[in-house]
């Protein structure tokens, strides 16, 4: 059979097909990894309490889905991350803009925010659990400050990095403070803000898992730590895979494209 001559139809592979082959080439190595893992477990005959096989992990996963515990833990973790992050952005961005507008204020406050963004996240767990007790409040606090300081610091950098000529130009075109904020300051700082959110969330996600291991009785971190008490490595590995997939989804499907879009759109870096 000869291929039909190309007529009106586009000879290019369709976008959907391209995305599909992209997904397959991405997943293939991971599938191979799973096969290698299973083969290694069978060949070495390692004790399942030390290193579980694929089947055991899938069974543990299926069970945790059936009895609803997976959704409970995932729901708790995601809920905390979202709440803490949204709060941090709501407070951090306006504060960062306010601080960045005046060169004097930003010169003075930059070192402070740098210090606290260095500390952001895990280092706050001990004091947060003392102040708020074990549980929801402490975890939200850890996530909040992981995101807050990094976002506020990056917003501050972004706003104070907007060329003064741009602000003068807008002012001479008659922009009031509100227009200035909407049309110049926020768009100008947006790439920095998004980068800040991405970095902050990276810290927050780790802080979350650590805090859940220490300070709560629900959530993915707790699920892992509880499974450890019973030497249920298959449940631990399943939890790790869930954590990996969740973060890949958050980072690759939301944060990275967002960052790329804002940075590229304003031509701040090439390509």
């Amino acid at each position: 059979m000869t291929a039909p001559a190309v007529t009106g139809a586009s000879p290019r592979p369709s976008a959907a097909l391209k995305r599909l082959t992209g997904a397959v080439t991405f997943l293939l190595p991971l599938v191979v990894l799973v096969i290698v893992w299973e083969a290694a477990v069978r060949i070495t005959q390692v004790h399942p309490g030390v290193f579980p096989g694929v089947g055991a992990v899938m069974k543990a996963g299926a069970e945790s889905i059936r009895d609803g515990s997976l959704w409970m833990h995932v729901g708790a973790s995601m809920g905390r991350v979202m709440l803490g992050t949204v709060l941090a952005i709501l407070v951090g961005v306006p504060l960062g803009v306010l601080m960045g507008v005046s060169p004097a204020v930003s010169t003075f406050l930059t070192p402070l925010f740098r210090f606290f963004s260095v500390l952001a996240g895990i280092a706050w767990i001990p004091i947060a659990t003392l102040w708020f007790g074990y549980g929801f409040g402490a975890i939200i606090f850890v996530i909040f400050n992981a995101v807050f300081f990094v976002v506020a610091y990056n917003t501050l950098l972004g706003v104070s990095g907007i060329p003064i000529t741009l602000r003068n130009a807008a002012a001479s075109l008659g922009a009031g403070p509100w227009t200035m904020l909407r049309e110049v300051l926020l768009p100008g700082a947006l790439p920095n803000i998004v980068t800040g959110i991405r970095t902050g969330l990276g810290f927050a996600w780790r802080g979350l898992i650590a805090a859940e291991m220490i300070a709560t009785n629900v959530g993915l971190g707790y699920m892992l730590f509880l499974a450890r008490d019973f030497y249920r490595t298959e449940l631990i590995v399943f939890g790790m895979v869930v954590i990996g997939i969740l973060w890949l989804l958050i980072d690759r499907l939301i944060l990275a494209p967002l960052e790329r879009r804002t940075i590229e759109r304003w031509g701040l870096v090439r390509s």
Binding site: T25, V32, P111, V118, R228, I236
Partner: protein, 272 residues
């Protein structure tokens, strides 16, 4: 300008000139009002003192713990762990990154796996590591190496792939054999990215270390903080946090910043 008559503006101008000459002053002075505010809140007794100790208490505990030798010993433990982790992470991460960056076959095969393992994150490994190695040094070392490794690998790959084709071509038409292309062009070209990876890796690794010390540790700054938490001693927790912050400044000033100044900034590859 009218503002020049204003005494505040004059003081501010003097301050700006001062920090222009001594940048480190500008990094310290802003903390003074913050510490004063902190001391004031404590003196006013807004919160119970045991719950919210003041700067003086922290300094006192610093002196006591240093005098007893606990703080220096813990600090040394943490720093050594961090350095070992960084060294292994670099020694493995850079060659791996070069391989994945240079060979499109290796890239196809390994890139998704690298992304996935990075996404799992260091801390999620702790329960499994505790089962494997118990509570102790091996577990912590693994976590640190793991955390430093991925940012270094991923950034090395990015760096290798960002080297313009022209530079490869220039090297080859000047007679460089493949391995010289790697040492003379690929490694230096990727170096700014590698250092960025190291910066991110240490930033994450150092957080992971604290978490590991809290959860499995028997020494180190993270352990100090968590142990104090058990004892309900807020002042030592605050001390630990301040030490951690300063430790990062030291790593930045002594290792990362000089590296960046000597490489990418000098070559005009990254903005100063």
């Amino acid at each position: 300008m009218i503002a020049a008559e204003n005494p505040f503006a004059r003081v501010w101008g003097a301050y700006l000139r001062l920090i222009a000459r001594f940048p480190s002053v500008g990094q310290i002075v802003p903390f003074l009002p913050l510490i004063a505010l902190w001391a004031l809140v404590v003196e006013l007794g807004v919160f119970p003192r045991a719950f919210f100790p003041g700067p003086v208490d922290v300094v006192q505990s610093f002196i006591t713990l240093t005098w007893k030798g606990i703080l220096p010993a813990y600090l040394e433990d943490s720093v050594v762990r961090l350095l070992v982790g960084a060294a292994v992470g670099i020694a493995v991460g850079i060659p791996l990154g070069l391989l994945v960056g240079l060979s499109s076959k290796a890239h196809k095969a390994l890139w998704p796996i690298l992304l996935f393992f990075q996404a799992i994150g260091d801390i999620a490994w702790l329960p499994l590591l505790i089962i494997w190695f118990g509570f102790g040094l091996q577990t912590m070392t693994f976590v640190i190496v793991y955390t430093v490794l991925f940012p270094v690998v991923l950034n090395t790959v990015l760096g290798v792939r960002s080297i313009p084709l022209e530079l490869h071509r220039a090297g080859r038409s000047l007679g460089a054999p493949p391995w010289r292309i790697v040492t003379e062009i690929v490694v230096p070209g990727a170096l700014p990215n590698i250092i960025t990876g190291l910066r991110n890796g240490l930033g994450y690794g150092w957080r992971a270390l604290i978490a590991a010390e809290m959860i499995v540790g028997t020494s180190g700054i993270g352990f100090l903080m968590f142990d104090s938490r058990r004892a309900g001693s807020v002042v030592e927790i605050l001390l630990g946090m301040i030490v951690l912050g300063l430790l990062w400044y030291a790593v930045d000033a002594l290792i990362l910043a000089p590296l960046e100044r000597a490489t990418g900034q000098r070559w005009g590859l990254v903005a100063r």
